[in-house]
């Protein structure tokens, strides 16, 4: 990033105005909680009072209990780390490839004409369809799983980066030309900052897809990982384990996204957005 975007911190005067609407916002948030909390409590009560068995749909207390047991026994952290490792490696590879090829496609017409048709054709294939081939090529273990995740991450990042470069404001590019910036200075001082917001959004959707594909990857014969926990719960007839794994997925996904957002926010303080990002 440019030194200017990183330095000069204390400008936050614009952050205050949202305060006034807070109380109203709280009420609206509470309204959104009514349905899920109500259903959960209702189901809990129904099972408690013997109106339902709760064998296929365990009550919330049992799910939490299972979750706690999994966490205590260390089983949960084994699975979480296995999943996180696969997502991290797959995301890293897919994002790196997406940024690289996206940059090529966005920057030069020739390489776009060369690359884009093929990549668009490949994109039309549902990623899961690669699974049998990846297993044949890369074996049943980690490599094929990571490859599937990387493919899932690659496309949104590629599209986002290429699109961001192509839509850089011509007017700002001209400012760079008027001041006779060198090519590398143009990239550093105009291109990179201009594409940063869209690139981050592309990385976020890539990360989301990474979590989606890790489940698919772990369905195909894993011995650990949250996806394995899902399959295991099904085969053992333990819906509480399945739901505990789902909760873990939700937490992990949200956490990873939040980290990505928090890590990049300082780079985007200059942005003139209509509201704070989601």
């Amino acid at each position: 990033m440019t030194e200017a975007a990183l330095a000069e911190g204390s400008v936050g005067a614009a952050a205050a105005p949202a305060r006034a609407g807070n109380k109203q916002l709280d009420l609206r948030v509470l309204l959104g909680l009514v349905l899920p909390v109500g259903l959960a409590l209702g189901w809990e009560a129904a099972v408690r009072f013997g109106l339902a068995q709760g064998r296929l749909v365990p009550p919330p207390s049992r799910i939490l209990q299972t979750f706690a047991e999994l966490a205590r026994s260390g089983e949960l952290s084994t699975h979480v780390w296995a999943t996180l490792w696969r997502v991290a490696v797959g995301f890293g590879l897919g994002a790196a490839g997406g940024i690289l090829l996206g940059a090529l496609s966005g920057i030069s017409d020739t390489s776009r004409r060369l690359l884009d048709p093929t990549l668009q054709a490949l994109r039309a294939i549902p990623s899961i369809a690669w699974v049998p081939l990846f297993i044949l090529w890369l074996g049943i273990f980690e490599a094929s799983k990571v490859a599937l995740i990387a493919v899932g991450v690659f496309f949104p990042v590629y599209l986002g980066v290429a699109g961001a470069i192509m839509s850089v404001d011509r007017k700002l590019v001209e400012v760079g030309r008027v001041f006779r910036l060198s090519r590398s200075a143009q990239v550093r001082r105009i291109l990179l900052p201009a594409i940063l917001p869209e690139t981050i959004i592309a990385l976020r959707s890539g990360l989301g897809l990474g979590f989606m594909f890790v489940v698919a990857a772990e369905f195909m014969g894993a011995s650990e990982g949250l996806g394995y926990l899902l399959v295991d719960g099904q085969q053992m007839g333990k819906p509480d384990r399945i739901l505990a794994a789902i909760i873990a997925f939700a937490l992990l996904g949200k956490l990873a996204d939040a980290i990505l957002v928090a890590a990049t926010r300082p780079l985007l303080r200059w942005q003139d957005v209509s509201r704070e990002r989601l």
Binding site: V11, R170, L172, E174, V175, A185, R189, W270, D272
Partner: protein, 260 residues
Amino acid sequence: MLVLDRLSKTYADGTAALSNVSLQVRPGEIVALIGGSGCGKTTALRLIAGLDRPSAGAVRLDDELVVEPHPAIGIVFQEPRLLPWHTVADNVGFGLMDRPAAERREIVAHALERVGLAEHAHRWPKELSGGQQQRVAIARSFVTRPKVLLLDEPFSALDAFTRASLHEHLFRLWDETRPTVLVVTHDVSEAVTLADRVVVMRPKPGRVDDELDLGLARPRDRMSAAVEVATRRVLAALDRSLKPVQNRPAGGPAGNALWW
């Protein structure tokens, strides 16, 4: 001396935006370009700035051919075009990145002082008003001390009061280094306030219709009889240039392959 020598520009779609425009501007002279919409004023400035190539003819600055952006030629666009990811100070210093940081800071601080924005140095462009942003753009174009400064309707989006105060700021900056200034405007009173000479253009194809030497002393009193007479002369010339022509909206310039 800035010389436009039989300058012509025909766009790829066949639009003859400029045809045979010749003009000479002395060092330190302020020339206003006026004329109806679509008569090639922006096109002319873009050719001088080296952002586009002429179809025929040439732009010369002190006998040097201008075919690409020239270090001694600066331009202020109709929009401020500040880089949103740079603070106000870094925007002003945008053309000075090859200078040592201390020197840059000093020049920037001085320029911001001159346009009355010293206390806004560390804010983001999004936190400024339109008029303040345009002042930053003007400061940015002055800090590189260009010999020629091109202004493309820099104040057209602003109210009359802000505009008058920007004329002041502009004039103060101009007075320090006395660059040649070529300013496009739709506003006759702006032309008369700023310019030594007014060039009236006419569209289809864009060409020079008339040139008026105002011969007004500085500083100018906008209420004086001399200014009033000059204003009437310019209005009359503008009227003549507009007579047989119906206005056309100007098309936005297109450009692909921005990077490579």
